[in-house]
């Protein structure tokens, strides 16, 4: 995207009918570290990559609980994300206080989107530089939404945002059709695998990612590192990913035979 004369103000349209400042804000989301979300009929899972600025620093929080039944994962300007999380928490508390019932997720995302839209139509404001994946459970089931800096929001079965999210999206595109009936464990495994795709070569460990889940009978909470490491270990027992488990089951037995026959032949290199 090149600089041009219509991109100084958010209140300036370009001749092609674009608001460049809003589009630049969406670029900021793409610069943030990746976050993924997926859902079944009864559960929704959020995952995020914990990238620290340097080895000396701790990583920034990307997963926030808004209420018992809703949480968000953010990508982009984490400061904006923190402020919006506080807004989401307040909205949930206010609704519960007045109506004695949890705020439906669809209404929460509309309120969030309206707040984002305001910043696209004021000359003294700038758009929020953060994308939010909102995962929640209400009377109509589990939901996953993506809220843009533009003020748009979309509902998804599965989605990924942030840097190198395309790899995760490609993975999710292949598998999302079955997610409605997935068990909670399978959802978590797929979330971890989607996160792994965004790491592109780096080994996935529980330190590198954070996963949270919300579902029927389960309040929104971040899953502890120990459990995540167990999921990762179970996944890495097979060389590839979940859909290569069936393929991987065949080669190891063939390789074992080869190894026994020819002692000099080296085992096939396992590349993950």
């Amino acid at each position: 995207m090149f600089r041009n004369q219509y991109d100084t103000d958010v209140t300036t349209w370009s001749p092609a009918g674009r608001l460049f400042q809003v589009e630049y804000a969406m670029e900021a989301v793409k610069q943030g570290s990746a976050a993924v979300g997926l859902r079944s009929k009864t559960h929704a899972v959020l995952g995020a990559v914990n990238k620290a600025a340097s080895d000396l620093a701790s990583h920034q929080r990307k997963l926030f609980r808004a209420d018992q039944h809703v949480g968000v994962a953010i990508a982009g300007l984490t400061a904006d994300g923190r402020v919006l999380s506080r807004f989401l928490r307040n909205e949930c508390i206010n609704h519960s206080f007045v109506y004695e019932s949890p705020l439906p997720v669809s209404r929460l995302v509309v309120q969030l989107a309206d707040k984002a839209q305001v910043c696209t139509q004021r000359s003294w404001k700038r758009p929020f530089g953060v994308g939010l994946l909102v995962a929640g459970l209400d009377e109509t089931g589990a939901h996953l939404y993506y809220n843009c800096p533009s003020g748009n929001y979309f509902e998804y079965q599965a989605f990924a945002i942030g840097s190198r999210s395309q790899a995760a999206k490609t993975f999710l595109e292949r598998r999302f059709q079955e997610y409605d009936t997935y068990s909670r464990e399978d959802l978590i495994k797929d979330a971890l695998f989607a996160i792994k795709e965004t790491l592109q070569g780096e080994k996935l460990t529980a330190q590198l990612c954070t996963v949270a889940i919300v579902g029927e009978g389960e309040a929104f909470h971040i899953i502890d590192q120990q459990t995540i490491q167990e999921y990762i270990d179970a996944m890495e027992l097979s060389t590839g990913g979940p859909d290569e488990e069936a393929a991987a089951a065949a080669p190891p037995s063939a390789e074992a035979q080869e190894g026994g026959e020819g002692a000099s032949s080296e085992p096939a290199p396992m590349d993950i």
């Binding site: 609980r65 506080r86 928490r89 307040n90 508390i93 519960s96 206080f97």
Partner: protein
């Protein structure tokens, strides 16, 4: 009863008691809701579990009490979001005081007793007036039967003046069961003479293993 058109309160009666022990706290309240000489219900809880280690019992005007409890519960949720932990009893004690004083010129008609465990795991009781004046004590009673109960608690639980040295703990050396028995006895006595106290007694005990609830039938007349 002569009613002013603008009288915005009502006394729904009831009594609340709390006793602090070495490693537990007992909070109890009757479950009768009255208006004037009528009973509205025999089964209404005045006790609100605010946090892991904090329980609030309030008597007075139920409309204000319900609103006050909701207010504190919402503030506690906010605290948990911001600090990633539950509020301690002393912290909640201060919050309640501030919340009450906030409405100094249109008060919550609520007489509160806050009980729980402090940061060291010792029993902790705070007693309040309607506008937030509070004090940490070893035991307290509030509500319509308080004047009947407080003298008995003083007799059984009062420790020597805190001005004397060596400094003595305000908490009672009684065991948990002894404290619960004492609470049952005082409520049975208050029920005899206070028309607004009776029906059922709800006893909540907070200790290291959590919050436990118990009920005792009281006289229904």
């Amino acid at each position: 009863m002569a009613l002013r058109g603008d009288w915005m309160y009502e006394n729904n009666g009831g009594t609340c008691v709390a006793i602090a022990g070495i490693d537990y706290c007992v909070v109890a309240a009757d479950t009768r809701l009255s208006v004037g000489y009528n009973i509205l219900t025999r089964d209404h809880s005045k006790i609100c579990s605010l946090a892991d280690k904090v329980v609030l019992a309030s008597s007075g005007f139920q409309g204000d009490i319900r609103a006050l409890h909701k207010n504190l519960a919402a503030r506690h949720l906010l605290y948990q979001h911001q600090h990633n932990k539950q509020m301690s009893c002393p912290a909640m004690g201060q919050l309640l005081s501030n919340t009450l004083y906030y409405k100094r010129f249109f008060p919550y008609y609520a007489f509160n007793v806050l009980g729980g465990l402090d940061n060291e795991g010792k029993g902790c009781v705070f007693t309040y007036d309607a506008v937030g004046s509070y004090e940490r004590v070893g035991y307290s009673a509030q509500g319509s039967g308080s004047s009947l109960i407080m003298p008995v608690l003083d007799n059984q639980l009062k420790s020597p003046s805190p001005l004397l040295l060596p400094a003595r703990d305000a908490v009672t050396p009684l065991s948990e069961t002894e404290a619960v028995d004492l609470v049952k006895d005082v409520f049975a006595s208050a029920t005899e003479r206070d028309i607004y106290t009776g029906d059922k007694l709800e006893i909540v005990v907070i200790n290291a293993s959590g919050i436990k609830r118990e009920y005792l039938e009281l006289r229904k007349d």
